[in-house]
């Protein structure tokens, strides 16, 4: 709309007006076919093609992209702990984000996600389109789809797959513009999400 064209979540919450080109330049390539631990956690996935590492929306999250975060974005949440937010807060005092609780049911996760997006991206144009049970990382989890728009007015779709494991939230989301891009890269997301497993991390 005006100067904040780059509105992908990762960009916004990584504080600022860093252009996606700069983020990409700094990103490392995640090669196809190699299992890799993401989001500084035991969440491990095997991409079917090379994705670039984008930004870190939070301490335990990490975004990847193929063409730039506003075109296609995967975000991994690597074990969000009780009483913490999904991603970094833009303004703790003015616009605090809701916090994950280990007592949450799966529909509560959807609600937490929706509210976090509405607050962080300052948009009321967010709808949840479907919610269903689905396995994730070898356990009972969830899958939900959503649609949203932010200041750049591009209509985007998204899908999240995840599970609460040991009281912590593990999740992968995929987002892209509804027209063309969403369908184009969806299969790669599904392969990555289906490859997810949790491995023990040495502390």
């Amino acid at each position: 709309m005006h100067k904040t064209k780059k509105v992908a979540l990762a960009l916004l919450v990584s504080a600022g007006l860093i252009g996606s080109a700069a983020v990409l330049a700094a990103g490392r390539l995640k090669p196809a076919g190699v299992a890799v631990a993401v989001a500084r956690s035991g969440l491990t996935v095997t991409p079917d093609r090379a994705w670039s590492k984008g930004a870190r929306p939070g301490r335990l999250s990490e975004s990847w992209t193929l063409d730039g975060l506003s075109i296609n974005e995967l975000t991994f949440y690597g074990g969000i702990a009780d009483n913490t937010t999904l991603f970094r807060e833009v303004s703790k005092s003015e616009r605090p984000l809701p916090r994950f609780s280990k007592t949450m049911l799966m529909p509560d996760i959807v609600q937490l996600f929706e509210s976090s997006y509405r607050v962080a991206l300052t948009t009321p144009l967010f709808t949840v389109d479907s919610v269903e049970p689905a396995p994730f990382a070898g356990t009972d989890g969830f899958r939900f789809t959503y649609s949203f728009a932010v200041a750049d007015e591009v209509k985007r779709k998204g899908e999240a797959r995840g599970a609460i494991i040991g009281g912590k939230l593990y999740m992968v989301t995929y987002e892209a513009p509804r027209i063309h891009y969403y369908d184009r890269d969806y299969a790669s997301f599904v392969k990555i999400a289906e490859s997810a497993r949790i491995v023990a991390v040495k502390k």
Partner: protein
């Protein structure tokens, strides 16, 4: 320091053309922004609601003065209204939740119109250009500038105390002439101050009611302003009996309440939302408001909150017009609190009544098949 506009300076309005380079530049920016707005997904285009807001605005500022103003209703759950120098007005959906009758809405519209008519944005622009550079000001035009860049805009976009006082005093005779009680202007700011206190209390923070930034990027509702507004309203002579038209306001907004309340509940502002729900329930808790309150408490999700949420849903469900989603909320609150069989029963009822629910598969699993 740019010379302030004097009382005899030309007023914006029908037939006015921008006077100098600064003002022409502002108009161009506003016009470009308006072209984008025409296609924006954030603009609410419901004809009845647009006609109603326009009717109240024209009644307040006068038929001749209102005719060139274009009003855009924005789906944005914060309190704001603004006017660009070219006669583009924006009213945020969050405003409708925060004014209690037509008179209070008219007070805000009249206030904004006075800023516009007295060309305050030109003064603001000249000061901003000197202190921050033009880009900071122009970038803040429109929808998100004021929200995304809260900190910066708080300082760039604060109208001067004199300009605010002028806009306040401009709105008082407008209200009287339109047949509203001019005390409505002071009331709406008073309510907003109380809401900020409620937000801060629930977040265990100091209230920002006397600060710029946040909800009041452009209009800090200071205690001093309240007193001045009340004094002006006390002095104002009235042409006849007043009517603040609460019933008409409620009727016009009724089809939109559920969506606006839903937007508010999802803002993670427990104290402010509870305050607004209580003020909306002045004539009693409707099933929709009880459902919203249940959703608010369930989202916060402490054990005590879940018990209260279940109570609100149950109370809503005693009425025939209760939203079906109250069954869903009740079931989820009970399940999370550990009342498994009762929770499952409520979820089953929800699915019977809403077989096409978007989360059917998930709820069916939780309901135990």
């Amino acid at each position: 320091m740019a010379a302030p506009l004097r009382a005899e300076a030309p007023r914006a309005g029908a037939g006015y053309v921008p006077a100098d380079l600064d003002e022409r530049g502002l108009w161009m920016q506003a016009e470009e922004y308006e072209r984008e707005l025409k296609h924006s997904a954030f603009v609410m285009r419901d004809p009845a609601l647009n006609a109603y807001v326009r009717e109240v605005f024209c009644k307040t500022v006068g038929q001749a003065e209102c005719k060139d103003v274009r009003i855009y209703l924005m789906r944005t759950p914060y309190f704001n209204a603004s006017m660009a120098p070219n006669g583009l007005m924006q009213v945020y959906s969050g405003l409708f939740l925060r004014v209690r009758d037509e008179a209070q809405m008219a007070a805000i519209l009249g206030h904004e119109y006075t800023h516009y008519r007295n060309r305050h944005s030109v003064l603001l622009y000249r000061n901003a250009k000197k202190n921050f550079g033009a880009a900071a000001f122009l970038g803040g035009f429109g929808l998100f500038g004021s929200l995304i860049q809260l900190g910066m805009i708080g300082s760039v976009f604060s109208f001067s105390r004199e300009n605010e006082a002028e806009a306040d005093s401009g709105s008082i005779p407008m209200l009287a002439q339109a047949g509203y009680d001019p005390h409505a202007a002071g009331e709406v700011w008073q309510q907003l101050r109380a809401e900020m206190d409620a937000t801060a209390l629930a977040r265990k923070k100091k209230s920002r009611k006397d600060k710029t930034g946040g909800m009041f990027a452009t209009h800090p509702p200071s205690a001093e302003r309240m007193t001045a507004l009340k004094a002006l309203a006390d002095k104002q002579t009235l042409p006849g009996a007043t009517d603040n038209r609460r019933a008409q306001f409620i009727a016009a907004l009724k089809p939109f309440w559920a969506d606006f309340v839903d937007d508010q509940v999802k803002l993670n502002d427990f104290g402010g939302t509870e305050f607004l729900l209580e003020s909306l329930s002045k004539e009693g808790w409707t099933p929709d408001l009880l459902y919203a309150r249940g959703e608010l408490y369930r989202a916060r999700g402490a054990p005590d909150d879940l018990a209260k949420a279940a109570g609100f849903y149950r109370e809503a469900l005693t009425r025939p017009e209760a939203p079906v989603e109250a069954q869903r909320g009740l079931g989820l609150a009970l399940l999370r609190a550990g009342s498994v069989s009762e929770g499952r029963a409520a979820l089953k009822t929800y699915l019977e009544k809403r077989p096409d629910a978007p989360d059917r598969a998930m709820i069916a699993m939780l309901a135990g098949g």
